[in-house]
């Protein structure tokens, strides 16, 4: 049995954890992380104490706990394994690794072994798509897993090794957070570009350049650069800042969205590993422009291992007076940044859901208007941009907007960092000018055998590799940067299934079309894939998918069926191949095995085959 702490011990430890925090709900997720780490679950006895501290009801604390994937009320084992089940992992041998873990640990996925030592669970993309199959073990990513390495890892867990020991980290490495972060998740930069990946960086240059201007001039500078947000939607950055600057508010906030959860993307991991200070300088420039004093980096839980590295970077910036009070002697320019963690929820990449999460609540997207630039964090005007956008801001301020403007296409200026994974010879990150043709990209990625490309992750589009003349830019194929290559042998309906299941899992559940519709689509696609579907089911799937798109409440629901729709559009023959060839008298989609599963289990018998 697991060594579960008694209620009194839980209460005592919870009280001492809580004592370290103010009575501020926005600290709730940090507190829950401490509890989860300490007890490998959130004990029932801790909940009334946390509720009391925050001045909220227990059911309200549970609302936050149950929303996030990495918070659990059941013990997850002293070593908690979260194996990535996203499509890139599946293509790289997920099933073999899953089997190996079950065999070695002696328990099934979804539970812990009998000693409570090892717990096996699945999770969606952990930002290691260039090194699949991968898993998080107590928050540390282990990439390129093989059945052999799984055997070794489980053995190490039984011996009680620390996670760093399991990883093979020596003493020399663990003292340098940057080197350690690079060792844990190698950056894999495949193509250096002229703006972000191939340019030298000296700490402080951007803030120094910014301070030569008035705040309003900074916004003009960004405006002249035509920079658009890099999260995927492409909203003009200067306009966002302008709205925030002119919004009334005694406090304003800058939030960096480091919650890159779109399966297939991992470029923010690389930017945060290699140039975290540049991101923070971009945030400081935004703060200077709009008049904010506090910033937050909202870091996805899957990147928690970067926290020591990021904290040290913040300390260095403070030491150089690039953060803190009267930055570089400029009186009135006070700005500092804290790191806040997510806890496993894709939807929190949507900016208003992110703000809810930052306030310690469940990450349910807000209704807009009002937009976060007017009513944001704690109801105050807030700028939310992502890691890549803030990195670009820092570069534009240093080198000027005109220089940036000459790169890319008319409506997509500058460069884009692509996260490339799947069936290609060179997975990793690439910085390319906007407007590159698919043909060039496939060559660049060494993807000669490609059949299809997923642009922008599951919420984006599936295109055929034959569409060589199409271009990656806002005018044609817009993307937040995820780029997954599928080889000739891959089944597109199987890919679409993985994507729709992802959305069904990640839906916040607030609105009906997304909450009820995505599971319905998932079931229908399963029916087709298992050979029980009829031709009209494909049309139904398209019709229902369009309905979900048209009526969902936020961007997650509105984009969740994109991959099914574009996959059917481009590869309809693969769906038709799975369709039942003969129409019998029986109900088409009735799955007798599934229907009898429960009674077979109860009786311990299986029906005879005729």
């Amino acid at each position: 049995m697991a060594k579960v702490a008694g209620d009194d011990a839980v209460k005592a430890e919870t009280a001492s954890i809580l004592a370290g925090y103010p009575a501020d709900r926005s600290e709730l997720i940090n507190i829950l992380w401490e509890l989860q780490d300490r007890f490998h679950h959130i004990p029932k006895a801790a909940i009334p104490l946390a509720a009391q501290k925050m001045g909220i009801s227990q059911v309200d604390v549970m609302e936050t706990i149950t929303f996030y994937h990495f918070f659990t009320t059941a013990h997850t084992g002293e070593y908690t394994v979260y194996l990535n089940n996203s499509i890139t992992s599946r293509m790289a041998g997920f099933q073999k690794i899953r089997d190996a873990f079950e065999k070695e640990a002696g328990c099934s996925f979804g539970e812990t072994d009998k000693d409570g030592r090892i717990g096996l669970f699945e999770t969606s993309c952990i930002g290691m798509c260039d090194q699949e199959p991968s898993a998080l073990i107590n928050g540390m990513p282990f990439g390129s897993l093989t059945p052999f390495s799984v055997e070794r890892l489980v053995k190490g867990m039984r011996e009680g090794k620390s996670v760093l020991e399991l990883m093979g980290v020596g003493q020399d490495l663990s003292s340098d957070p940057h080197k350690l972060a690079r060792f844990i998740a190698p950056p894999n930069i495949r193509r250096k570009g002229p703006v972000l990946l191939g340019v030298g960086y000296n700490m402080g240059e951007s803030i120094r350049s910014a301070l030569k201007h008035k705040p309003g001039e900074i916004i003009d500078l960004i405006k002249n650069s035509n920079l658009r947000g890099m999260g995927g939607a492409g909203f003009p950055t200067a306009l966002k800042w302008q709205f925030c600057a002119s919004a009334k508010g005694d406090e304003k906030y800058i939030v960096c969205n480091a919650d890159e959860g779109e399966p297939g993307t991992f470029k923010d991991r690389v930017l945060l590993t290699e140039w975290p200070a540049r991101v923070f300088e971009g945030m400081a420039a935004a703060a200077y422009a709009v008049g904010a004093r506090q910033g937050y980096l909202y870091l996805r839980a899957e990147y928690r291992y970067l926290t020591p590295h990021l904290q040290r970077t913040l300390d260095e910036l403070r030491k150089e007076n690039l953060l803190g009070n009267s930055i570089l002697g400029k009186s009135g320019f006070d700005f500092d940044i804290s790191i806040r963690l997510g806890a496993g929820a894709y939807v929190c990449g949507e900016e208003s859901a992110l703000l809810e999460s930052l306030e310690g609540k469940r990450g349910e997207p807000r209704n807009r208007p009002p937009f976060p630039v007017v009513v944001g964090f704690r109801g105050k005007p807030t700028v939310v941009n992502n890691v890549e956008t803030f990195s670009l801001v820092a570069q534009i301020i240093k080198y000027g907007g005109t220089w940036f403007n000459t790169l890319g296409t008319a409506k997509s200026v500058g460069t884009k960092i692509l996260s490339v994974s799947g069936d290609c010879g060179r997975p990793g990150v690439y910085e390319v000018e906007w407007g590159r043709k698919v043909e060039d990209l496939l060559k660049m990625f060494d993807a000669g055998n490609a059949k299809a490309l997923q642009i922008g992750g599951p919420s984006g589009k599936t295109i055929s590799a034959r569409e060589t003349a199409r271009k990656v830019c806002f005018e044609d194929l817009a993307t937040g940067g995820s780029m997954i290559v599928f080889g000739q042998e891959r089944s597109m309906p199987d890919v679409a299934q993985n994507f729709i299941d992802f959305f069904a899992e990640e839906s916040c559940g607030a609105c009906v079309p997304c909450r009820a519709g995505n599971p319905i689509l998932s079931d229908l696609l399963k029916t087709i894939r298992e050979g029980r579907g009829l031709p009209e089911h494909i049309d139904q799937m398209v019709e229902w998918a369009n309905m979900i798109k048209a009526s969902s409440r936020c961007g997650l629901g509105q984009s969740s069926p994109n991959s099914i729709l574009t996959s059917i559009e481009k590869f309809k023959d693969e769906y038709m191949d799975r369709i039942k060839k003969e129409r019998g008298a029986l109900i088409y989609d009735f799955d007798i095995k599934a229907a009898m599963k429960e009674s077979c289990e109860v009786t311990g018998r299986t029906p005879s085959s005729h």
């Binding site: 909220i56 059911v59 069904a504 559940g509 609105c511 009906v512 909450r515 319905i520 139904q540 309905m547």
Partner: protein, 225 residues
Amino acid sequence: MPGQVTFTIDGKECKAQEGQTIVEAARANGIYVPTLCYSKYVENPVGACRSCTVKINGNNGAACINRVQEGMNIQVYTRQLEDMRKAIIEALFVEGNHFCPACEKSGDCELQAAAYRYRIMAPRFPYRFPSRHIDFSPKHLVLEHSRCILCQRCVRKIRTEDGKKVFAYHHRGAKGTVEIDPEIARTMPEELAREAADICPVGCINFKGKGFDRPIGTRKYDKEP
């Protein structure tokens, strides 16, 4: 008149107070926009059910959360929108377990009324038959989760005297449920419990001891939905 805006709904010119939601403004002009999660007794509409989806200057939006503006062109009754609303009601029927004949709320249920309104004989989607629990633990209430449509009315409206949430949304996606605070459930005043039961549009939050209290023919939606 100051503060008044002029707009059109399905081609009809309407006037309303600036700042009113489309649902309120339409009703003020004698036009009914179908709703489910919206209630005039509950503040902070969420736009959860999407059955009030209308076209606002050509784009889809929920009428309960969007506000009228001068010159707005709103479409409510198009074939496409009506079919979408019907699909949403059908989706609610298949994602839960709704057995109207056996339900205490039958005849007074807003989901049932919507189904009558849209003449739903059988939903287009396959039933999912989820396994949902019944919570008898509250002092005054029985929560029949099979019937919950997650409209969040109770979550938004029902608070303790010191402003704490009594109900909250747990989990996410298809696993989403609305739960009651275990401690408050034991101690909450009868009046608050009655309010929770009344605000529930379906037969999920039931006041203990109350069963079928009105004969068929006199219930709210017996004559028309």
